[in-house]
Symmetry: C2
Subunit: 196 residues, 2 copies
């Protein structure tokens, strides 16, 4: 079976985008194909449609499963394994966020904490540690926010997102205190530390 022009265009674009985000092009294309498909597909069919070797597809699917982005199912009367993406796109986002966090963000935070704890020998190192702390606090803040809003059910999450920055005005959070001294300048570390 040949790919429809629609599916082909999307898989190509998605593969291209994937490779810009550190995802192997063919893995991206496999995911794109499954994402658009209205049924679970067996590996040999994927290989056929995308013109990849069977083994390449096997490796790609393993990778996608390790990200929990693709799941395996058995169809009655067919011995082959069939693969599909998560049906709910919000669940896809949640899964992606969790996995990226687990694999990349948390280890990075650990490294940052270790380096910040290290006794500094020089002024230069002390400055570097300030920068590291800024980065650490920023990432931690963003991750806490992300973790927190992911607990919302999807409808509420959508409402929150649609509200955007208006939340600040609605809740009267706007900082009305006169800017003292530093004008527009915001020191990240202290700003991130102060309680809202």
């Amino acid at each position: 079976m040949a790919l429809s022009p629609l599916t082909e265009a999307f898989t190509l674009h998605f593969g291209e985008m994937g490779s810009r985000w550190g995802i192997n092009r063919t893995v991206g294309q496999i995911y794109a194909l499954l994402y658009l498909s209205d049924r679970a597909l067996p590996a040999d069919e994927i290989a056929d449609e995308l013109r990849f070797s069977r083994s390449n597809v096997s490796m790609g699917l393993k990778e996608l499963q390790s990200w929990r982005l693709v799941r395996l199912q058995h169809l009655p009367g067919d011995r082959r394994e069939h693969f599909s993406t998560l049906g709910d796109i919000w669940q896809i986002v949640r899964t992606l966020a969790e996995e990226r966090r687990r694999r990349e963000i948390d280890p990075t935070l650990t490294v940052l904490r270790e380096l910040i704890m290290e006794p500094a020998e020089t002024d230069s190192d002390r400055h570097a540690q300030l920068r590291l702390r800024e980065m650490h606090d920023l990432i931690e803040l963003l991750m806490r926010w992300s973790e927190d809003v992911q607990k919302l059910d999807t409808a509420d999450l959508i409402k929150l997102l649609k509200l955007g920055g208006r939340v600040v005005a609605l809740l009267g959070l706007k900082n009305r205190m006169p800017l003292i001294g530093k004008g527009e300048r915001h020191n990240t570390t202290s700003a991130a530390e102060q309680d809202a």
Copy 2:
């Protein structure tokens, strides 16, 4: 001059992380070095410390400048160009978000729109278009949120982030209250959203 162990550890980790996000390892290391440095550095010094060729550093800096993540300055009495990162880490986040959007998100949205407009020949294509619309609406919602909260000044943005999902309860959004003071309607996520 040799790299301090602190700086070396960070540049190595950052380069490694960068390569997982589609950024060339050496470009990541150059950025990391500049990020930690307490002064602007000339290219030859960067090449020295990281043990890269002068030309590699030149290409890396060009790349970083094209992302507006590194800026060039001239120091009095020195003919060489000196480079530094943005001082405010929140500005770094804003710049990154803008550039990624411009380079990757917007073109993707364009492709998605084109494919959704295409007349569908088959049921399979019709299903694919529903999936494409879900993705389009989701990305658009996230981008609008991001663009919107970036207009806040940093102190307010931090407050909003710290608040996390509690916004929903505080504003009573759970009870189907209409959004206060809303003229324009965001027509995003029509496919992805289920209004509770």
